[in-house]
Point group: C2
């Protein structure tokens, strides 16, 4: 088996900086964690917050701290610094090779999806962003690493897409239509969701959007770890 992860990320229309931050860290006991935070508002202020949250969580995970404890620590830090006036969502998706599970930690009102073969479950249990009060608890979901598992996580740029125009996005419907294809790559699922959201916002995303897809697939031959990044250069002066 192998784990495949894909991320697609776009800025709010006419902003040069995304308030969403996503980073990946190797877990000291094996596996890796993807950490995604969406700071309140957009642009520079939101970026500072989401980077601080991601940095705190990544630093703790790298020391072997458990995901839930890392989320609480980041929340306490944000609350202490900003007294509840600034909040941030947080999602952690961990491939834990020690427990042989995918651990999903969520402090985000936006739902997420867990798909196993034909079954598509929306996870929308109430979940509160970091920094709102003392004692913010993450919602933690743990699933055995198994063939056919696909997890879809996103920031509220997806869940609110099209709302202003009275045409909200049905995320589950889009996921179902892609998964009905023969074995779509996680990148094609992430791209389709992002593309759908941008079209509902008529080409001008009304918020930063990040989509993270994790898939457990059968081994594609070699045992080479691979990573690719594409960074479009935006703004004046770039061809």
């Amino acid at each position: 088996m192998e784990v495949q992860i894909a991320v697609a990320k776009i800025n709010k229309y006419a902003t040069s900086e995304s308030g969403d931050t996503l980073e990946i860290v190797e877990r000291p006991n094996g596996g890796l964690s993807v950490v995604l935070a969406d700071g309140q508002t957009s642009g520079r202020g939101a970026k500072v917050i989401s980077q601080m949250v991601v940095r705190k969580v990544i630093g703790l995970l790298a020391e072997g701290v458990r995901d839930g404890a890392a989320a609480r620590a980041a929340s306490d830090k944000l609350y202490t610094e900003r007294q509840g006036k600034v909040i941030s969502t947080l999602n952690i998706a961990s491939v834990d090779l020690h427990s042989r599970t995918i651990v999903l930690t969520r402090n985000n009102p936006a739902s997420m999806f867990i798909c196993i073969n034909d079954r598509i479950d929306m996870i929308d249990e109430e979940s509160i962003p970091l920094g709102t009060s003392r004692n913010v608890r993450p919602v933690i979901t743990e699933i055995a690493i198994q063939l056919g598992l696909t997890v879809v996580i996103y920031t509220d740029g997806i869940s609110h897409a099209g709302e202003r125009r009275g045409n909200p996005m049905n995320v589950g419907e889009v996921i179902r239509s892609v998964l009905e294809d023969q074995d779509p790559s996680p990148q094609s699922l992430a791209d389709t969701l992002l593309d759908h959201a941008v079209r509902l916002d008529e080409g001008r995303p009304s918020d930063d959007i990040s989509v993270l897809v994790l898939k457990v697939a059968s081994r594609g031959g070699d045992n080479v770890r691979r990573l690719t990044v594409r960074l479009p250069l935006e703004g004046p002066g770039w061809a």
Copy 2:
């Protein structure tokens, strides 16, 4: 324009853990940095060292510390903790959107390559690993972000491939043959280099191998940032 980054990574034969650590961090003033360390020896001990070095460097870069200063700080930390008995190589490849340059920081006897269109330059100025003494200086190379630029960085699993069998790898030759193809993707260049090294080691890599390729290409349409990861699950019990 857009920056494309690809990494291919494989463990030394019959070891379950790579002593090489590679992580990516967003730069607070725009852009991103890829940090690659290779800890002395292999397996668990090497992993602990390379993770420590990468963690230190990433933490400082995230605070806005300059690449060279981050490398020196990691070296001082390693020297203080291990008194020169344990060393680690370090490469940092930064896309600095503020200075509009690629900044390459190197504390690694292994060479690297900078290719601009048809020109392929091997950078093999003497460079010393971290932790060898007080006052270790990185070799820093800075190049304007420009179309046609390709940078190739690797750990010594590449430069030593085939040596034991008296058939050492000519890295520049392999790069030239791939670049003669029409506009190869960075992933295909990284994969070809890794594949070539593994074949010279007769399918049993005599060291951990990591290859990092950074390419500046023309914009491929949309302004979506993308990231993909493939993590093969190795060891007993995984199908």
